[in-house]
């Protein structure tokens, strides 16, 4: 048993964070459970295209109830803290704006950077907990040789969440615990059962927490309507890569790079979205082959394993959550910009997503695909 200290736990009401709470409590630490209230699911309920009642995954009363029951079962103090304002400012609005400019955002990374490991970490420190533990599948450790905190892939690569954590700073990592980093999901469920947690069999959540049912298009419509903003007209042309107009579309936010269905054009060979030109409101379509590219640029870069990228580095780069990291060379190409050159062309490089750089299990850093 390690030294007793006060640890705050970000509890979502799911199996993973609940098990973390039970494990750390069993180790004898002073554990405080915290749940962030981030989004009022009732806000958009009943609007066109949105569910009448809310069974959202995040901040739903059911999840708060589950987290509270876990805290009670294992005997720890538990609090819900309200960060709705920050969540809307730093996650929901950027999410909507990115889609409307033809990009495909990742709200989970924004939430990690701006809420979980920022606001919640501050609350943790304010209530006397120097560290915040979460149920993420990732590992964090201090590397004496480099003198830096490292973020590493978990033992169970199938649950790897490091892709969403590339934005963590050294300060944030130094105050973070990922107790599930060495475990597989079945092991976690087994631990949950051992600790007598009623939610050991609760299904995993997959969708974006504030988008009920996963239909982000309806969410954007409903959010803009609630804000009193009309949906900006992002309708335009479908063009080929050589500029030939082949059709029209109803709005660029309805498209994602790599998408095949719903283009509304009948041609002999299947067509894919290969690019979205936000300014021109054009959706560029083409053949499967045209989806592949070897080069991408990342901006708003965060480096973890190294202080700076002084010379080109061989890494593996992951360009979406479900993407097997592919060998590439990364090099600095400007202030806060890194150029990624893959050995082999990659399919559907999507602006708005992150490119995360791996040196085997170590997260070197990452940036947002321009």
């Amino acid at each position: 048993m390690s030294q007793t200290r006060t640890i705050a736990i970000a509890m979502s009401g799911g199996v993973d964070s609940s098990t973390v709470a039970a494990m750390l409590r069993a180790e004898g630490h002073n554990v405080v459970g915290l749940t962030m209230q981030l989004w009022n699911q009732r806000r958009l309920a009943g609007q066109e295209g949105m569910p009448e009642s809310v069974q959202g995954r995040c901040c739903s009363l059911d999840d708060v109830y589950d987290a509270r029951r876990v805290a009670e079962t294992i005997g720890i103090p538990y609090y819900v803290v309200n960060h709705e304002d920050r969540f809307e400012r730093d996650v929901v609005r950027p999410f909507v704006e990115q889609y409307l400019s033809g990009r495909t955002p990742i709200p989970c990374s924004l939430c990690n950077n701006h809420l979980k490991f920022d606001q919640l970490l501050i609350v943790a420190q304010q209530i006397g907990a120097d560290t915040l533990a979460t149920g993420h599948y990732a590992r964090v450790e201090f590397d004496d040789k480099r003198g830096r905190w490292l973020l590493k892939r978990p033992a169970d690569h199938s649950k790897d969440q490091t892709y969403f954590l590339f934005g963590l700073t050294q300060e944030q990592l130094s105050r973070t615990l990922f107790p599930l980093g060495g475990m597989t999901k079945p092991e976690v469920r087994e631990r949950a059962r051992l600790h007598g947690l009623a939610l050991a069999e609760k299904p995993d959540s997959q969708e974006i927490c504030f988008v009920p049912g996963g239909d982000y298009k309806n969410f954007i419509d409903a959010y803009l309507a609630e804000q009193g903003d009309a949906l900006p007209d992002t309708a335009g042309e479908l063009v080929t890569s050589s500029g030939e107009v082949v059709g029209e579309h109803t709005g660029i936010h309805n498209f994602t790079v790599g998408q095949r269905k719903g283009l509304g054009i009948a041609t002999g060979s299947p067509l894919y979205v290969i690019q979205i030109k936000g300014d021109a409101r054009q959706v560029v379509v083409g053949k499967q082959e045209e989806l592949y590219a070897r080069i991408l640029r990342t901006r708003r870069v965060n480096l973890i394993a190294v202080k700076d990228l002084t010379e080109p580095m061989r890494v593996a780069v992951k360009i979406r959550h479900r993407h097997e990291p592919a060998p590439a060379l990364i090099e600095k190409s400007g202030e806060d910009e890194i150029l990624v050159s893959f050995d082999e062309p990659q399919r559907a490089i999507t602006p708005g997503q992150a490119a995360v750089f791996y040196d085997h299990d170590i997260v070197v850093g990452g940036g947002w695909i321009a």
Binding site: Q37, V64, P77, V80, V123, I127
Partner: protein, 393 residues
Amino acid sequence: MRRVYLDNNATTPVLPAVFEAMQAHFAEHFGNASSMHHHGQETRAAVERARESVSALLGCRASEIVFTSGGTEGDNLAIFGLVRLGLAPPGDHVISSTIEHHAVLNSCKQLESSGCEVTYVPVDGQGRVDPDGVRRALRKNTRLITVMMANNETGVLQPVEEIGKIAAEADVYFHTDAVQATGKVPIEVKRIGCDLLSISGHKMNAPQGVGALYVRKGTILRPMLYGGSHERSRRAGTENVPGIVALGKAAELAREAFSRGDLERMGGLRNRLEQTIVDQVDAAGVNSLGTPRVPNTSSIYFDCIEGEALTIALDLKGLAVSTGAACSSGAIEPSHVLTAMGLSPERARGSLRFSLGKQNTAEDVDFALTLVPSTVARLRELSPIYNKTAASY
């Protein structure tokens, strides 16, 4: 761990004498007050004694007291009992204020969605409703004025007597939610001039789940619950006898406390608490200091502090206080009361409510004083905003 409870506006502990009085009505004197036989008769007697005790606290007749399940039911019964839904436009008009408890505010919202009109009179910088604002809001179709007697967050005593006169002159019903005033200041319904006044047991050392509504004689209320002829057909349902007996006992103790000067003592503790905090902590102050308040409540703002984090930090050290209003998840939303009186959302979020109860001692206040300034200081060390602006304080 030592724990001190300074959140008595949320709820109060049941006093030992109250607990003792109600205990007899679970297994021993268990009868249904409506029964003819001996068991019913002894229960009926206990209920009516309690009614007399509550009426004595409010200065009314016993027959003017309707027992309820608490403050929320009393507020709902008053509002929905008087305001007529489904009238031809313009329908009934109601005057309320921006700082009411949600039991009143959300009832008014429900009225609005049923075709009634509601005017929410604003408050001044001290959190006090302007009686002239109430007067100006009067219309031909005004049916009811509902303005609280004391605010739950600031403790500010509202000008209910002046509003009572306005209501009388205009021949409009007047209801006041006195939940946070009962037992803290003497109440005379005749002086207030109200037609209806709601109180809650658990804010005055009786248990949760019981309350009362004063209904001036001759006021016809439409009931919310239909059933037997309990409470003179104003509130059907077998009486919560242990709760009612407890409320009666608590009312009796409240009157004794007034005559003993207990409330002056409590006010002294409250004043020492808030003065010492404000003396010891930079950029802190008492909300509504410039207007009469109930003697147990203190709302204190701490700039560059999240009240939520401060509340948690203090709770982990054994001091129970509160901030804002809890939403359904238990998270805190910025207080509508503090923002209505003009506090910035930041200052509203940085405000804490300390509310004393009969059980609190000078040592409890000392305990709070050992924790609050040091905890605020620690939180501010971690506040980027405070460190940036510290120079200006």
